[in-house]
Symmetry: C2
Subunit: 425 residues, 2 copies
Amino acid sequence: MKAKVPITSQKRVVVIGGGFGGLKFARKLAKYDFQVVLLDKINYHQFQPLFYQVATAGLEPSAISFPLRKVFHKQDNVVIRLAEVTSVNTKESFVVTDIGEISYDYLVVAIGADTNFFGNEKIKSNSLPMKSTVEALNIRNRILQNYEEALSIEDAADQQAHMNIVVVGGGPTGVEVAGTLAEMRKNILPKDFPELKFERMQIYLLEASPKLLNGLSQKSSEKSKEYLDKLGVNVRLETRVKDYDGNTVFLENSQIQARTLIWAAGVIGNKLEGIPADVLVRGNRIKVDRFNKMEGSENVFALGDVCFMTEEKFPNGHPQVAQVAMQQAENLARNLGGILKNEDMKPFTYRDLGSMATVGRNLAVVDFPFMKIQGFFAWLIWMFVHLMSIVGAKNRVLIFINWAWNYITYDQSLRLIIKDPKKKK
Amino acid sequence: MKAKVPITSQKRVVVIGGGFGGLKFARKLAKYDFQVVLLDKINYHQFQPLFYQVATAGLEPSAISFPLRKVFHKQDNVVIRLAEVTSVNTKESFVVTDIGEISYDYLVVAIGADTNFFGNEKIKSNSLPMKSTVEALNIRNRILQNYEEALSIEDAADQQAHMNIVVVGGGPTGVEVAGTLAEMRKNILPKDFPELKFERMQIYLLEASPKLLNGLSQKSSEKSKEYLDKLGVNVRLETRVKDYDGNTVFLENSQIQARTLIWAAGVIGNKLEGIPADVLVRGNRIKVDRFNKMEGSENVFALGDVCFMTEEKFPNGHPQVAQVAMQQAENLARNLGGILKNEDMKPFTYRDLGSMATVGRNLAVVDFPFMKIQGFFAWLIWMFVHLMSIVGAKNRVLIFINWAWNYITYDQSLRLIIKDPKKKK
């Protein structure tokens, strides 16, 4: 069955995924004389860097989400379909989706990455990942629900297990969520649950490597640990999680009792059936050349977290971050647009604009290529950069007000367990 | 099993339900020397009058919800439990909940009302009610999902059925949701879905009685119909829905094809097992005296939508609106508080402060006891009153910004289908 998509005289570029890479690419390519068909499973773009604030009740999902259709109100050569792509036929140039087949002249695979549980099904089913707005909301619901349940528990050890939180993965996500939880433990939770003793609540941040924030400078890494120590987070480096049954976190030589385990330990490229196995490298990434063209193909491209491109300075591929995806998207749009004018393609070169992570109130680390900053000023930069990066002026205003409010009142006020009470847990 | 609730020397008042009545009552009673145990299935208070704006993507759930625990940060004689009350034992004075039994000295039943489907199971399972934040979100998701699906439909009649919306019930909720949908059809949906022909989308408002807004004045009723006509809503009075199978709405002598039916046609008191059958009157309401005391009981009270009290001016009971619940809550708190000082109880007298409903942009009707107003000025009053009634200063600010933004841009921007894409529909 063919999907119902308008047929025009333009060449059709099908883009799978409306994340940082896919959305930027579609916006840029829409300026050229192509028909752009954007496919996604969800009808909004998600601003991943702030998932942790949704998880910790500081922001609403809507503040960091933006309806895809709204982005393209003025571009009538863009067709959007809410669809799940099940496979691609690269020989005959069409994708198979749950709304039918869609043929393409060029295909851009921007399906991103999902949480990597490294094959451990038990960890997967018992822990909480944070790679989507919905998953972030699940974390919020679970944490709040745990405290509600803790109130009814007589056994002290069991009660503490309901209060403890283990975060696995010392990247920016792990650092940010652990820091924010520590702030909540200090400022809000004791007020919400005066019957619980929050001095007994433990927050752990476990990292398998010897340092936090591996992508950042040594100085930033050390500072972030120092900040987390100050906030009372138990940071354990060179610590691997062996298993988790929903109650006990099994480490190499010890155990931690915790009902909540947030898993931010790694990502793996989303799979798309039909992509030849021999172009997939470690972490399910699709091997592409410097033009983001998939190895062995003429009209299939991949960009962002799901692609693997090497440069002289990046012999092991680029870091899987938004900046890479967005820069690749711009370059690829220009290159494809250039085809219409018979221009030569330009190879992609990554310009590292810097990395940053926030740990808590007034505490952040920022690595610019020309300068490293930590502390209050870094925290202001972090906020400014994130505020400016979010899609939609209204989101910007609402996030700013939320942040200002939370800062002044020491209160993340969105502590709502929003789920259907008519359904059983 | 006994629930874990602190035991104090104070008399214990158990309140079931954190709606308008229950919340107000708990806040007022907390000033007296009682232990107040507030039980609810959800951890936040919901501002029902704005559910329709959540359903039509104008407001976020969090903007009209307020965490119950936050309300009582400074009242340490208030104990909150997230619990589902399954029954009450009025003889031995305890309630049975999913977290155990809780004994009481006084019980206040403020469990409100739910949607009344008048026994039609088929309508119940196929239509969308709007009596909770979650149900309002379901409506939003369903409507947006329908347009996404409509894009893939070849058959013109089927496509139109996906676009049509039928609202049943001409009270404030029905009028407000129908009017807002008409605004969306005019201003937003054609921009979001340029491939669909929205001049073919029909919005119906069906009301069984001969007029809209039955609780309001004749003038307001007529004006609201006039406004809806102007907005292109098909208002059909004296029209009863016989049945609905998810595709076809069966009326007395005709049918309407529509995939979405919003059911706002009536309410029925929530049931609590253990309340004697002989005190229940029509619509499951609990018969109480002028002190909100349940008939035949000494220490069980009921207030708000779930109670039935007659006054000289209200021989058939009070209207089931927030104003009644809140006024009863204040009176009952004062009366129970008076027991501690051996004061006499004051009988309740309802003071009707007026009713209002908004139809659309610049269009509302307001009935004050001393004046009836329609149109732009009524619309300003409506906004002001609702803004001032919402719990939480931050909610007030965020709603105001949202409204101002939506007004200026003609755009409800929260068109996000937030549900787990990993789960099947």
